[in-house]
């Protein structure tokens, strides 16, 4: 069942649906003229708060944190798109297909982390212009790469959320906005993780964006390459663990559906 070629084919089929959905959701005009503007405004909103309460270092801290949280929010649209097959009535066909459901769903919503990589990178670079934050070409390349890695790792967490949303489709937006705001509060976006009690600090380590943020801040602040590499590794490791959990949950959902639960009705 976990044969790599079959897994890749399943992911590819999911990507086909993902691209079709994305095209029906946005046109180039609405994506760039509405969605991208919204993300830039979101980061601007927080950077103005940073500007009101702190010094220029804190503004830079907030710009990066806010942009990465916009990335989390966009990636978590996976929560909604994981329920669409149920709403559209195509879920029974998927349940009957001889594929590993988690791989299909990995492809199914891949448009969100890819779009989030672009919107987040553009937001950081745009706001940098207003707050005297400069990036060398090499830093920009690393920034975009790290945003991509963080988006994809966060996407693995979003797939777990999606597997839960599939069971409770009415709560899809409530769950995703709750996860987003929890990450914004506790994962070091606006205040350091150390601001919170130890139990929360420990819990935050399980979230990929906590480490992704550290890595991106390292790029901006000129931290040692080994430290950046370590944070990036943790981003990938936590993402992989969430992905494994999502494989299990989607398999359980499909298995339950085959036994005749309400998932198919």
């Amino acid at each position: 069942m976990l044969h790599p070629v079959q897994a890749a084919r399943t992911v590819t089929q999911g990507v086909v649906v993902s691209v079709a959905d994305f095209r029906s959701f946005y046109t180039w005009r609405t994506w760039s003229g509405a969605w991208l503007v919204r993300i830039v405004c979101q980061v601007a909103f927080y950077s103005l708060i940073g500007n009101m309460v702190g010094d220029s270092d804190y503004v830079i801290y907030v710009i990066i944190g806010a942009a990465m949280m916009a990335c989390v929010a966009e990636t978590l649209m996976t929560s909604a798109s994981s329920t669409w097959d149920r709403t559209l009535g195509t879920l029974p066909l998927l349940v009957g297909a001889p594929v590993e459901p988690g791989f299909f769903y990995f492809g199914r919503s891949l448009m969100w982390p890819l779009s989030a990589t672009v919107t987040t990178s553009v937001a950081i670079l745009t706001l940098s212009l207003f707050f005297d934050l400069t990036w060398s070409p090499a830093q920009i390349a690393l920034l975009v790469l790290l945003v991509l890695i963080t988006s994809l790792s966060t996407y693995c967490l979003a797939l777990v959320v999606g597997a839960l949303a599939m069971i409770f489709p009415g709560a899809r937006n409530v769950i995703s906005s709750l996860v987003t705001i929890l990450a914004t509060c506790f994962c070091g976006a606006m205040v350091p993780v150390e601001f919170w009690p130890p139990a929360i600090q420990w819990a935050a380590q399980a979230v990929p964006v906590t480490h992704g943020l550290e890595a991106i801040r390292g790029i901006e602040g000129g931290t040692r390459a080994a430290d950046i590499l370590m944070s990036t590794s943790w981003t990938v490791i936590t993402g992989a663990l969430w992905f494994a959990l999502s494989l299990f949950l989607f398999r359980r959902n499909f298995s339950a559906a085959r036994k005749g639960t309400s998932l198919l009705t």
Partner: protein, 267 residues
């Protein structure tokens, strides 16, 4: 005939109470209710953490008031999206139009009921700041606070009515719902007063009713007399009434066009 229809639809208030009562019951089981409310205590936590961390606890009132304004606007975007189209898809629109009540006022009444969510939102925000950070926000001018809150709720319902008509007329609701949140929070000065913006941005922001609401609500928490209260209330009323007039008239225009084209029951 058209003219009579127009007057009947906009001036008659009978639909308002029905819509208000219906929505207070209906929204208890709607996910939009919980979507609008759930983030309120966490935004309070986040903003209070920012103030505490940066040593600007003098701005705590900003942190407590902003989540309530965010809830109002989120509710406006969430509930207005399908307020008219769901009636159309379910085949109820013709029945509602045949009823002896104004449909536009029914929509406005329903959206006003949605604004009741500001109360639990403020309660959660206030309690979060109090219980977690031991900051119990004082309200030195309760009259100004209550007046600003009521007018803000009405203005938001008016803006939501305009959005409801826009959604059914031309725009894709989902994209607008996803897009209009943070730009409005930014221009509405819900946490950073628009007076701190550059001149050109402040001028634009003053056209967003929330900028007047936020100023009045924050001013009501300070011991000093509220400066420019008359100006604030006047602008809030004016902008709210403009949105309401636009919303009601565009619903009437949509209904007239749908009747002419025979598309009342079509998507």
């Amino acid at each position: 005939m058209m003219r009579r229809n127009f007057e009947y639809s906009t001036v008659d208030l009978s639909g308002f109470g029905t819509g208000f009562r219906f929505q207070t019951v209906a929204m208890r089981s709607q996910s939009d209710t919980y979507f609008s409310l759930i983030t309120s205590p966490f935004f309070a936590l986040l903003y209070m953490a920012i103030m505490e961390y940066s040593g600007r606890t003098d701005l705590n009132t900003h942190a407590v008031i902003a989540p309530m304004l965010m809830t109002l606007w989120t509710a406006a975007l969430s509930f207005s999206g399908e307020m008219i189209s769901e009636n159309r898809e379910n085949g109820r629109l013709e029945l509602l139009l045949a009823a002896p009540a104004s449909f536009p006022m029914l929509v406005f009444g329903r959206l006003c009921a949605c604004m009741l969510l500001s109360l639990p939102s403020f309660g959660m925000s206030y309690m979060t700041a109090g219980l977690v950070f031991d900051y119990w926000m004082p309200i030195h001018h309760p009259g100004v606070f209550v007046g600003a809150l009521v007018l803000t709720a009405l203005a938001t319902a008016a803006a939501a009515t305009a959005l409801a008509s826009a959604f059914v007329l031309t725009l894709g609701a989902r994209i607008v719902q996803n897009t209009l949140s943070f730009p409005v929070y930014l221009l509405g000065g819900i946490i950073v007063p628009v007076s701190m913006f550059p001149g050109w941005l402040e001028a634009i922001s003053r056209l967003v009713y929330l900028s007047w609401s936020a100023d009045l609500l924050r001013a009501s928490t300070t011991p000093e007399p509220v400066a420019n209260a008359v100006m604030g209330f006047s602008m809030l009323s004016l902008l709210g009434l403009s949105a309401l007039a636009f919303g009601l008239l565009s619903i009437v225009w949509f209904l007239r066009r749908a009747k002419e084209l025979g598309t009342l029951s079509k998507e």
